[in-house]
Amino acid sequence: MATIKEEKTIAEKVFNFILEDKHLHQKILGELPEDKRAAVTGRKGRLIVTGPQGGTFIMRLTPLGIFKEDNDRDIRNEMLMSDNTLIAILVWIAKLPNKPGMSPRAAYTNGFLRINGKSVLYDAEEILKALEKHAFAKMQPVAKDAVKGMEGVESAG
């Protein structure tokens, strides 16, 4: 009998949401210039969210979209933040009244969100641009859902 694994943390919910829309992944990949598409295809990244609402997740960009990976070899980029920072970013994405939250770029500049890669500036800018262009509008429902019922979560750390 198949069992349904319960999503335990906010970070897991976000990660699963990111993996969900393969059509969108393919569309974004399709819009890239050919040489750029070739450069990013196969790239692996790790998301580390510390704290009780966190988790560690590895993903890989393939021609068919983003997929979960277990193997941590050849990881090009890593995003590291606390669960409080993730929640602050989700509050910002959710655009809740009277709760400004924190944009990912502000969290990055403030040092609450770390983006590691081969290059500090280029890789971080590329990832932030991709998130700003493709992810946030789509993530609004999951962000609202994730922060529903939470009170007083505005500051990162």
């Binding site: 750029k36 944009s103 770029r105 403030n110 040092g111 290059s119 500090v120 500036l121 280029y122 800018e125």
Partner: protein, 308 residues
């Protein structure tokens, strides 16, 4: 590293090099360009660091005014804002917001933006408006190295680096990254006793980093009212930076007034770049700093006496 034989001269090229081959029926012409350094071989960019360890001396506006003057003189100019924690060069360029940071996704390089014929790059484009930069030192050091290595400049004659008032680890990393490939530093100081107190410290830093000194710009040297009246605008007495420079063999490139007239500023900077052209950058020695310290002390005392 690529080694080429060019006109019986061995040319060694480090860093990223692109090779363009133009084929004709009989010959192949190979043009080598090092885009990240902003020069074509044989047309090397002059990198100048605008520097002062004292804050508020006007380094950023001086960088922009120097850049504009060089551009008016027909040079291709890039401005690199290397203030890692409070980058404001875009404001001095007259922009209300830093333009978004453009990327060359194939070469994985950062691309400068263009304003009135000047090319510029600032980390404000990467940070976004508002948030304080709270990065750890190793990250700042890596970022500084990438600013020198990974910007895809067009062909330039001059690259002006607007440095922050700091001798911290990330600034040392920046100076180390450009060492050996800098035309010189231009110092910017106000002729006040408070500002000149940091002149020796700045020169000591530059000496340790083995950078040549092009000369000194005495910024806010006097106030020029719209009616043409000149006066000294500070409470502290005026120190004669000209005398200090003359005694120590440092070129005084210009004395820039505080004035609401951009035309007057432009005229002064046109003179400054002419003087820069005729100046050989100076390599500092230990003995010069001792002499300089005495000169400054003497001029500060003279200024105080004049005020009595």
């Amino acid at each position: 590293m690529l080694v080429l034989q060019e006109n019986h001269r061995v040319v060694r090229i480090k860093s990223q090099v692109s090779i363009d081959v133009v084929s004709t029926t009989d010959i192949n012409i190979v043009i080598l360009t090092n885009r990240s350094l902003g020069f074509r071989i044989g047309f090397k960019v002059k990198r100048i660091i605008v520097s002062a360890l004292k804050g508020g001396t006007g380094k950023t506006t001086t960088t922009v005014n120097l850049g504009k003057a060089l551009h008016r003189a027909g040079h291709r100019v890039g401005l690199l804002d290397v203030d890692a924690t409070a980058p404001t060069l875009y404001k001095a360029l007259g922009l209300t917001e830093a333009p978004p940071l453009d990327l060359d996704s194939v070469a994985a390089n950062l691309l400068p933006f263009e304003v009135d014929g000047l090319y510029a790059l600032t980390l404000a484009s990467h940070y976004g408006e508002g948030p304080a930069v709270l990065w750890d030192e190793p990250t700042l050091i890596r970022a500084m190295r990438e600013l020198i290595r990974d910007v895809q400049w067009p062909e330039l004659d001059y690259l002006l680096l607007d440095s922050p008032p700091s001798s911290s680890g990330f600034m040392q990393a920046l100076y180390d990254a450009v060492a050996g490939d800098v035309y010189g530093t231009v110092l910017v100081f106000q002729p006040t006793d408070i500002a000149t107190a940091d002149l020796v410290r700045t020169l000591d830093f530059i000496k340790i980093k083995k950078l040549p000194v092009v000369g000194l710009i005495a910024n806010m040297s006097y106030c020029l009212s719209p009616s043409g009246e000149q006066f000294w605008p500070f409470i502290s007495p005026k120190v004669e930076l000209g005398a200090i420079c003359e005694e120590n063999g440092i070129a005084l490139l210009g004395e820039v007034p505080l004035t609401p007239s951009q035309r007057i500023i432009d005229l002064e900077f046109d003179s400054i770049i002419s003087r820069m052209d005729g100046t050989k950058p100076l390599i500092l020695k230990d003995s010069m700093l001792t002499k300089l310290y005495k000169s400054i002390a003497t001029q500060v005392v003279k200024a105080a006496i004049r005020r009595l």
